[in-house]
Amino acid sequence: MQSPGIIAPPRAFPSWRNSDARPLLRLEQVSKHFAGTAVVESVSLDVFEGEFFALLGPSGCGKTTLLRMLAGLDSPDSGRILLDGKDLAPVPPYRRPLNMMFQSYALFPHLNVESNIAFGLKQDRLARSEIAARVADMLRLVRLEGYGKRKPHQLSGGERQRVALARSLAKRPRVLLLDEPLAALDKKLRGETQFELMQLQAELGLTFIIVTHDQQEAMTVASRIAVMNRGRLAQIATPPEIYEQPNSRWVADFIGEVNLIEARVLAAGEGQREEQGIVLASASAGRLRAAQDGGSAAGDTVWIALRPEKVRISRERPAAAADNCVAGQVCSIGYLGDISAYKVRLESGWIMKAALANMTRLLERPIGLDDHVWLSWPADAAVVLTR
Amino acid sequence: MKVPWRARPVVLVPYLWLAIFFLAPFLIVLKISLSRTAIAQPPYTPVLDVAAGWQGLQAFLAALTVDNYAFIASDWLYLASYLRSLELAAISTLLLLLIGFPLAYGMARAPRRWQPALFMLVMLPFWTSFLIRIYAWINILQHDGLLNRVLLALRLVDTPPAWLASDTAVYIGMVYSYLPFMVLPLYATLERLDTSLIEAAADLGCTRWKAFWLVTLPLSLPGLLAGVLLCFIPIVGEFVIPDLLGGSQSMMIGQTLWSEFFLNKDWPVASAVAVVLLCVLLPPILVYQRMQARDLAG
C-alpha cells in the first residue's frame, strides 16, 4: 500500500550534511551488556535538532535499550551520551530534558487525564494557572478536549495513546523519545497516527527519536533511520538512501524485498568504456552489468542487490540487452492489490522476484502462472554490495 | 543494582528489627539450651556479665554445658514426643490434602464471577478467632454435644462415644484450623492452570480421570508443595489444638515445650527442646524458603 507520502518542509541543507552543524544529541561508542551478552555494542551516532530520527531493527537488536539509556533509565557500561555537548552520565532521569512515551503508555491509573498530563509540570513546580493553561494546550493539541476528567480505564487504546503523547510533550522536552508508540494500534489507526505525529513534529519543531520494528513506519515518518542489528549499527541514512543504497546484504534484505545475486567481478574488457560500469558473472543469472562498482575490484565476489519493482518482466525477449537479462518460468504470483509480486524460477534453478504495479483493472493478468517470461533491468537499477 | 545511599533506611529498618527481634532471640535460645537451671532471676546460669570483661566471658563459656541435650536424648519421653508430633503432623497434612484439594479444585473450576466470593468464604473462618473455632468443636464433640446427640438420634450408636481427648479430635481440630493454609496455595496454582491443556489432553484421548492424573496433578505440584509445607511445619509444633482437644496420654512436642517451660520452670531444657525441634524442622523450612525465593525471582 502506498504510504501517505508526507514530505517535510524542505530545508536549505539537511543538518546531517552540513559539516558546520553541531548535533543536539551525540552518542559516542555506547555499549551495554546484560548477563555477559552485548545488548548494545559501540554505537556512535548524531541526532540533529528538528529531526524525526528512527531506530529500526528486529527484536532484540538493542534499540529499546539504547532509547532507555537516552532517557536515563539504564546506564551505559561504556561510552558517552552528550546533549548539547554536555555529558548526561551524572544526570538522573528525572533531571534530563528528555521525555519518553512508553510502549505501554504507562498512564497513572489513579489519576485522571488532566492530572496525568500535569504530572511532569507539577514536578517543576510551575504556577497552578500556568499548569492549567499548558494542560489545556496539550489537550487541544491531541484533540482530546473535554476528556480531562476521565480516568485511563475509561479511554480507548487510541485515546490513551494520545494522552501519553500529551503527557510527554507537556514539559516541552528538547528531545521526545517514543518507544514503539503505535505497536498496539490497528493498521488504519496506525496510519492516521503516523501522519499526525509527523505533522506535530513539523509544527512544533521538536526532535523526535522513535524506536520501531516496523519498516514501513520508519520509512514513513523518519527523516533519518538508524538500522540496528544485534546491538550494532548497520546503517544510518535517509529512507530513500536506506532503500536504494543499502550498505550491506543484511540491510538490503531487512528493508523491503530484494533479490541478492552473488557474482564475480570481471576484469575490464577491451573496448569497454569507463562509464559503462563493471561486468560481472553470476551462476544464477548469467552476465550482469552494474553502473557503479560499489568499491569492488576485479576478481572480487560481490552481491548484486536488485529491488523487485526495478525488474521488468515481459513475454518476449528484450531487444537490445545482452546483459542483465534472464529467462525463467513464473512459479508463483502474489496479488497484493496495488502490485503483483511474481516469483520466477530461472534456468539455473534460482528464484527471482519481480513486482509490477497493477496499472489496469483486468481480471486476467497479462502474465500468468507457469508462463515463460524474460526478466531484465537497467545497469543502474542494482547496487553492488561488498559485504 | 546498587542500593542508592539515601534509600538505605528502607532496608536497614526492617533488617535491624528482624535482627533484634528474630535472630538474636534464637541465639539466646541456643545459649540458654547450653545453661543450667538456677533458683534465681533469671532462672538459669551462667549469665553473661558484660562488665566482667574478658575473664567474665571465659568463665561464661566454661560454664556452658550440653547436659540438657544429653538429658533429652536419654529420656524416652522427649523422643516419643517428637515422633508423635511428626506422625500427627504427617497424618494431618495428608488429611488436609485429601480434603483441601477437591475444595481448591472446585473453587478453581467455578465460574469466574463466583471465585472472589468463594475465596472470601474460605478466608472468613481464618479471620475469626482460631481459639473460637477450636472451642466450637469442643462444643460439638463433648460428651453431650451435638455430634453424639445426632448419632444417638439416628441410632448409629448405643452409647455416646468419647470424642474429645482423643487423636480423632486432634485431627479434626488440625484439619479445621489449617484448611485455609492448604486450600489457598493450591487454589492459587490451580486457578492459573491453563484449561486448554486439559482440553488438549481430552483431544488426545484421555478420560477425565486420566487427564487429572497426567496433566492437572503434575502442574499443581508447586501449590501442593507449598500447601503441604505451610501446614506440616507449624502443625509439628502446634500447642493449642492438642492441648484442648487431645488426651493426656502422650503429648505433642509443643505441649512438652510449654509444660517444660511453664510448669516445670526448666528454661534450659525447654530451650534445648526448642533447638532440637528447630533442627528437625530446618530441612522443610529451607525447602520452603527456596520455593519462595524461586517464586520471587521468576
Partner: protein, 271 residues
Amino acid sequence: MLRLSWFNVLSLALGFAFLYLPILLLVIYSFNASRLVTVWAGWSTRWYAELLNDRAILEAAWVSLRVAVLSATAATVLGTLAAVALTRFGRFGGRLLFSGMLYAPLVMPEVIIGLSLLLLFVAVGIDRGFWTVAVAHSTLTMCFVAVIVQSRLLQLDRSLEEAALDLGCPPLRTFFTVTLPLLVPALVSGWMLAFALSLDDLVIASFTTGPGATTLPIRIYSEIRLGVKPEINAICTIMLAAVGFALVVASLIAKLQDSDQSLRAPGGRNR
C-alpha cells in the same frame, strides 16, 4: 471455564459446610436461654448481658484491641519497607539472610517464636507487658504483610514508576505519589490480616505478656480449660460479627478501588 461436575459441587458444599457448621452452632447457642448445650430453652440474650458485667473479659478485650491496632500498624510499615527492599533493590548484601528472616515466621511453630522472644526480653531485662506483646506480634505479622505487599508490587507495571522518573519525579517522591497509592489495597489487606492474627494469637501472647496485659485469647483459653461456658459463645459471636463487618467494609472499599483503577498496563490491549 469448564462446567462444574457434580463432584466439584459436592466437594465445595461439603468443604464449606465443614468450615462453617461449628461457627454457626456457636452463634446459635450464644442465644440459648439455657446454660446447658444439651437443652434448648429458647432465644435469649442473657449471656450478652452477663458478658457486659464480666470485667475481666472486657478488659482483656480492650488490651487485645489496642495491641492489635498497634502491632498491625507497625507490621504494615515494616512489612512494606521489607517488601520494597526485596522487590526493588535487587541483589543487595545480606539479601539471603534478610529474606530468610522475613519468611521464617510464616512456617515456624509459634511456641518457638514465643519462647525465643521471651528469653530475649528476660536476658535484656525488659519487663514483660503490653509493649512486649505488641513488639512480638509486630515481628510475627510483618512477614504476612510483606508477602501480600510483595506479590502486589511484582504485579505492578514498572513502566509507571519509570514514567514518573522520566517526568521529573525523584525516586522517593515517585514512591509516595505513584507506587503507594497503587499499593493501598495490599496495604489494607495486610493491615487487616496483621490485625486478625494479633487479635487471635494465644501462644506468643502467653509467652510474652506480663501482669496487667492479659489478652482476650489468654482469658478465653483459661476459661475454656474450665469447661464450656455460654458467655464464651456470646463473646465469640460478637467477635465474629465485628470481623465479618470489617471484612464486608474492606471488600466494598476494594471493589470501589478496583473499578477505579487497573493495575495492568492500559496500553497493551486495544479495546
